[in-house]
C-alpha cells in the first residue's frame, strides 16, 4: 500500500443495547480509493461519521496522517455525507466561500478555487445566482464542489453518485479520479457496484456492523475464484447442464455459474455436443456477485 493517510483501528459503537459497529478496521493510502460496501443499515454511515469525528466511538481509534483525530485534522478532509443539502437562501459563490472558510481557507483563494470548480462542472454563470434558482442536479454538483474546494488530502464520499444523470455521473467520476491522481486518498461508499469495481483499489464490506470482507480488490476476486462462464452460441442451450448451478440464458449468449471444483472443460465438452460455440470465457465473479454472496451468508 502507498503511504498511509488514514486508519480506523478496531472501532466499535453501540446505541443503547444495539451493536452498530463491531471492531471495524481499515486504512487508506495516498492516491488510493477504498470502497466501502454493505447493505442498507449495515453501519457504513456510522463508520464514516466516526471516521470524520462527527460521532464518538465506544472503543478503538482513528488516526489520520499518523496522528490521533483532532479538530484541526478536519481542515485536510473533504466530506460529502449521504444526507446532504444546501442552504435555501444565499448566493452560490458566497456559500462556497463560507464553507471553505470553515476549512481554514483564505477568502480570496477560496473564491478563485470556487470559480474554477464551478467552471469545471459547467456552472460558472450561476456563481452569483441564488441557491434557490438551482435544479436538483446543479445543487448536487455544488455540494460536491464544497467537499473538494479546499483540495483535501483525504476525501470521504458517502453515496456521491446518487441523483446524478449519466453525463454528470461521468463528470463527477472523472473529478474523483483526477483527485486520486493528484495524491488524494478517497473513501467511497456507494451501492453502485459497477463504479466501485472500476474505481476502487481496495474494498471493505460491512454487514450488520461486522467487517466481513477487507482487502485488495484483485485478491478478493481471486479468493472467490473464477466461477462464471460466458458463452456465445448458436442453437438451443439445454435447460440443465451437469455441474452448472445457475444458467442465465439470453438466447445466443449465456452466463453459467459453475459449482466448486467443477472443471470448465467438462462444461465445454457438454456444450459442444448441443450448440455451435462462438466464444467461451471463464470470468472472475463481479463485485456485485461477491456482495450478494457475502450478504446472503
Amino acid at each position: 500500500m502507498a503511504e498511509e493517510i488514514a486508519k480506523m483501528d478496531s472501532v466499535s459503537k453501540t446505541f443503547g443495547d444495539k451493536k452498530i459497529l463491531e471492531k471495524i478496521s481499515f486504512s487508506v493510502g495516498k492516491a488510493e480509493i477504498l470502497g466501502m460496501l454493505g447493505p442498507n443499515g449495515a453501519g457504513k454511515t456510522t463508520a464514516l461519521r466516526i471516521f470524520m469525528g462527527i460521532m464518538n466511538s465506544d472503543s478503538g481509534n482513528v488516526r489520520i496522517f499518523s496522528k490521533p483525530f483532532s479538530e484541526k485534522t478536519k481542515e485536510s478532509i473533504g466530506y460529502l455525507p449521504e444526507e446532504r443539502g444546501l442552504y435555501k437562501t444565499g448566493r452560490i459563490l458566497e456559500t462556497l466561500v463560507y464553507l471553505a472558510s470553515l476549512k481554514g481557507m483564505d477568502g480570496g483563494k477560496a473564491e478563485q478555487r470556487a470559480r474554477a470548480l464551478l467552471s469545471e462542472v459547467g456552472l460558472s454563470e450561476y456563481a452569483n445566482s441564488q441557491i434557490s434558482e438551482l435544479s436538483k442536479g446543479m445543487g448536487q454538483k455544488v455540494q460536491f464542489i464544497s467537499s473538494i474546494i479546499h483540495k483535501p488530502k483525504l476525501l470521504v464520499l458517502d453515496e456521491p453518485f446518487s441523483g446524478f444523470d449519466p453525463i454528470n455521473l461521468q463528470l463527477i467520476k472523472r473529478m474523483i479520479l483526477k483527485l486520486k491522481e493528484e495524491g488524494t486518498a478517497v473513501i467511497l461508499s456507494t451501492h453502485q457496484m459497477e463504479h466501485m469495481e472500476k474505481m476502487c483499489d481496495r474494498i471493505i464490506m460491512i454487514d450488520r456492523g461486522k467487517q466481513v470482507l477487507y482487502g485488495d480488490l484483485k485478491s478478493i476476486k481471486s479468493k472467490f475464484g473464477k466461477n462464471t462462464i460466458t458463452v456465445s452460441y448458436n442453437g438451443k442451450l439445454p435447460k440443465t447442464i451437469e455441474g452448472v448451478m445457475e444458467i442465465n440464458d439470453s438466447g445466443n449468449y449465456a452466463e453459467l455459474k459453475i459449482g466448486k471444483g467443477i472443471s470448465p472443460n467438462s462444461i465445454l465438452k457438454q456444450l459442444i455436443n448441443e450448440v455451435e460455440i462462438n466464444a467461451f470465457e471463464l470470468k472472475e465473479p463481479s463485485l456485485e456477485e461477491i456482495f450478494v454472496e457475502v450478504a446472503s451468508r
Binding site: R49, I54, N56, E71, R84, L86, L99, G104
Partner: protein
Amino acid sequence: MIARKIIAIASRDYVTNIRRKAFLAMLFGFPFLMLIIFGVQAYFGSQMKSGSFTSNAGFIDYSSLNFESNSSKLVKYSTAEELKTALLNKKIDAGFIITRDYLKDGNIQLIVRKGELTKPGEETALNNFLLARLLESVNPDVGKRIQDPANVQTFEIDRNGQESPGNIFKVIVGLGIGIALIFSLFMTSSFLLQSIVEEKENRMIEVLLSSISAKELMAGKVLGLGALSLTQMAVWFGLALLFAGIVQSQMASQIGALQLDKLISPAVLLIYLLLFIGGFLLFSSIYVGIGSISTSMREGQQLSSILILPAVTPLWFMNAILVEPNGIISRVLSMFPLSSPLGMIIRMNLTDVPAMEIIASILLLYISVLFFVWASAKIFRAGMLMYGKRPNLKEILLFLKEA
C-alpha cells in the same frame, strides 16, 4: 484558527438574520408600537386629569341650588326637551340632569346618544364643576384644599439614610427595559431555533460538523445571535434616549427633568447587562437543545413556546410585586433562573434589593447556564444527526450519557 471559524459561523448567522424582514420590522416596529401605546395612554391620562370638559356638554338643574355654567363647553338648558334636542342634533355630546333631591342623594342622570359613551374625563369634569359650585360659599383656600387635598411628593430614603425625590419614571423605565429585554431575548432565541432547525432540515448540518465541532458550531450561533440581540437593544436604547431627549426639551416645564443618569447608574446598567447576557445564554442554550431534537420549525416552535410562560411570570404577578417588592413571591421570581432576568429588573426598580440577593440571583442564573450549555451541547451533537424522527425522553437521556 478555531476562533476564526466560530466568528465565521457567528458572522453568517448575524448577517442572515439582520436581513430578515421579521427582525427589521421588530427592530423599528417595537419602539413605534410602544410610542403609540404610551402616547394613547398619555393622551387619555391627560384628558382624565385635566378636569375640564373636552367636548360640549349640557345640563339642567332641577335642584334648589340653581347652578350656572362657568365654561363655554357646558351649556345650561331649562327643560329636558331642549337638552335632548341639542343632544340629538349633536350640539352637545352629553347631557347631565341634576335631580331635585341632589343635595340629599347626590344623584345625577347622564344622557348620551344611543350606542355612544361619554369621553374620558367627562365625569371628572362634571365632578369638578359641581364641587366648585358647592364650594363657592366656602373660604377660597379651604375650597382649593377640599378640591385637591393632597399634593403628594414622594421621597425615597436609602440604607444610609440619604433622601432623594421619588421618580415614577424609574418604575416605567425599569419595566420598559425588562419588557424590551424579554422581547429581544425571545426573538433572537427563536431565530437561533430557526437557524438550527433549518440547517437540520436542509441537511447542511453534517457538512458543517465535518469542518467544525458541535461545540464550536453552537458557540458561533449563540455568539452571532447574541450580537444581534445586543444590536437590537442598542437601537432600542438609542431610540428611547432620543425620544426622552425630545420629550425633555419640549415638555421640561410640565414634567420636570427626567434625569436619566439618576434612573440608571453604571452599576445598575452592569447588573442589567449581566442579567440580559445570562438570560440570553440560558434561553438560547435551551433553544439549541430543542432545535436539535425537532424535526421541523413548527415542532420546534411548539416545544419552545412552553418556555415563554416562566419567563414572563413576573408580569402575571405584577400586582404582588408592586405591593410587596420584597415579599416571598417577588423574591422567588427574582431568584428562579427562568424568571429572574425580568423579575430582578422589575424588583430593582421598585425597591432597594440587597446586594447579596442580586449576587445570588446572578450566580443562580449563570450556574443554570453552565448546566444547560453542557446538556444542550450533548443533545445537539446527537440530536442533529437524527433526521425525520424526534428522540424520546429515553433517547435524550442516552444522549446526555453517551454523546
